[in-house]
């Protein structure tokens, strides 16, 4: 699949935003949130801002963005539509939550629970846009939403810790971020294990199955329909970047997991000042970008079979 810049930004940045909302909500629910209007204001603005930037990026993916509003119509069947609704609902509820918190100085528990639940649901819907696609065997697994949600929570937790650091708390949040980072990494490892076996062949999308020419011998593409390129090849038969995949996988592992892990451990152990967690977040975000790029670029679509890929 073509790794569109807009979609990489969208899924990763909005993931941090919604993850942060979830973490703030959970903190409120557990009555662990400090009674700080400034924190509510900063955290709230950060979360909403990140989610908004992500969503805005996603609009750039549309060829007719002026019609984006129509995406709300098909929530009954479309994960994309559901995501739209949930994103708006999450941001609205979270806005009220954060505003209440900022005004009253106390994080409202129920609104916090609601925000957290909605935020997780939003990320889940985002992931389901991909996971629902049988056409992309790597994506078509419950591990995809699991990884998306855990990555959002991990980055959200780290974001929360980074913010909290300025309010002198933060080591606790860092521990939470550490736990979610390990969980997210585990989910992603499991996802990669799935992805390795998720071939076109297994999804019933071998060249032979795609053409109905089963049981006659191995088929290979003799001539593509056109000598030139086309939308399908650009969008779904994307193979350009795959040769850099192993390098990017290392980047994702090092920046997305290892470096934040070390920094978090060091922070929790008191070896590093918590105020440096913001740096860890930025590094982690770079790792997530790489992870998302791989998520798209390495994904083989069933249509590739028609273009001779196995």
């Amino acid at each position: 699949m073509h790794p569109a810049f807009s979609l990489i930004i969208f899924s990763s940045v909005s993931g941090v935003g919604f993850g942060l909302m979830a973490m703030l909500g959970i903190a409120a629910a557990l009555e662990a949130a400090p009674s700080s209007s400034l924190l509510a204001l900063l955290g709230g603005m950060a979360a909403l801002g990140l989610a908004a930037v992500g969503l805005l990026a996603s609009v750039f993916h549309l060829r007719r963005p002026e019609r984006a509003w129509r995406a709300f119509s098909e929530w009954r069947s479309s994960w994309l539509s559901r995501e739209g609704w949930l994103a708006v609902a999450t941001m609205a509820v979270f806005f009220v939550f954060a505003l209440t918190w900022a005004i009253t100085g106390r994080a409202p528990q129920v609104l916090g629970i609601a925000s957290a639940a909605l935020a997780v649901a939003t990320v889940f819907c985002t992931a389901m846009i991909y996971a629902q696609l049988r056409t992309v065997p790597r994506w078509h697994t419950p591990l995809t939403p699991l990884a998306f949600v855990l990555i959002a929570l991990a980055t959200g937790a780290l974001a929360l810790a980074s913010v909290l650091a300025w309010f002198a708390e933060g080591r606790g949040a860092a521990s939470v971020a550490l736990v979610f980072l390990v969980l997210a990494a585990a989910a992603k490892v499991a996802w990669f294990a799935h992805a390795r076996g998720a071939t076109l062949e297994r999804a019933g999308a071998s060249i032979e199955a795609a053409t109905g020419l089963v049981g006659r011998g191995a088929a290979k593409l003799f001539e593509a329909p056109h000598t030139g390129s086309n939308y399908l090849m650009h969008e779904m038969v994307y193979v350009v970047g795959r040769r850099r995949a192993s390098a990017l996988r290392k980047v994702a592992a090092v920046l997305g997991v290892l470096v934040p892990l070390v920094l978090l451990l060091a922070t929790v152990a008191g070896l590093l000042p918590v105020k440096l967690l913001g740096v860890a977040l930025l590094i982690q975000l770079l790792g997530i970008f790489a992870e998302r790029w791989l998520f798209f670029a390495e994904a083989q679509h069933a249509v590739s079979a028609y273009y001779g890929h196995r």
């Binding site: 109905g212 020419l213 249509v303």
Partner: protein, 250 residues
């Protein structure tokens, strides 16, 4: 609309005969020609006279080499377009309701006025049936020539998809695949028509008729040396048969 309608009474679709298709691209071009001026936005072309010409096509003809265990590879031409699936994933993923399956005859269409160009339906389709138009930014796909098949401005014999009308080897057939008595259903039954990628769970309406068995002379002369089994009935005397034949003439 994004939800699928109840099983339509009528399932219009194509039956494509891979035994007969010579890969001439006639159907693809006739489709482009009709549909660029038909339903919805034109099928635009980018850089049409330049370095990287591309365009929107609703039907594309691939060709494959299939290598049997013995003998040379067989060449099979394969037209690819929308299969108007019963369980069309392109419909259910659409967030705007632009993508829909007609309750009346099962044709999968895009209401281009509602399409925001997100491309998710193309991702959901395993068959590459949908192409985003490079100029209009809306999703284009085979409409089964919805503006031909019931068009009262066309003579009745022309009320069929442009690809079917033009196919020089008559490898394309159009009809109601839900009616077991229709010509297309009979053809599918007689020739063992197949679904493409059945494991994708799309339940396509269009069917492909597989190529019949082919022979190809092996190349290596030596592989047959000495194995000429069937001896021709040589009459005694080199042209004894000629004598007999000539005798019959008298």
């Amino acid at each position: 609309m994004t939800t699928l309608p109840p099983e339509p009474q009528k399932k219009l679709g194509l039956v494509i005969d891979l035994d007969t298709c010579v890969g001439c691209h006639a159907c693809a071009v006739a489709c482009k020609e009709w549909n660029t001026q038909g339903y919805g936005a034109p099928l635009s072309d980018q850089d049409p006279y330049g370095d990287d010409p591309s365009g929107t096509w609703l039907n594309r003809i691939h060709s494959y080499e299939v290598k049997p265990e013995a003998g040379p590879a067989q060449l099979i031409h394969f037209p690819r377009s929308c299969l108007h699936c019963d369980d069309a994933p392109c419909v259910t993923v659409c967030p705007t309701g632009a993508s829909y399956k007609r309750a009346e005859d099962g044709i999968v269409l895009v209401n281009e006025d509602a399409c925001m160009g997100c491309g998710l339906c193309a991702w959901a389709c395993p068959y590459g049936a949908r192409e985003m138009d490079g100029s209009a930014g809306v999703m284009k796909k085979c409409t089964l020539c919805v503006d031909r098949i019931d068009n009262e401005n066309l003579p009745p014999e022309d009320r069929e998809p442009a690809c079917v009308r033009t196919c020089p080897t008559r490898a394309r057939h159009f009809g109601d695949l839900n009616d077991p008595e229709s010509d297309v259903s009979k053809l599918v039954a007689a020739r063992g028509g197949v679904d493409l990628m059945p494991e994708q769970g799309t339940r396509p309406v269009n069917k492909y008729l597989p190529p019949r068995a082919r022979e190809a002379a092996p190349f290596s002369a030596s592989c047959d040396a000495g194995s000429a089994t069937q001896e021709a009935p040589v009459p005694t005397g080199r042209l004894a048969w000629l004598d007999r034949a000539l005798a019959r003439l008298d």
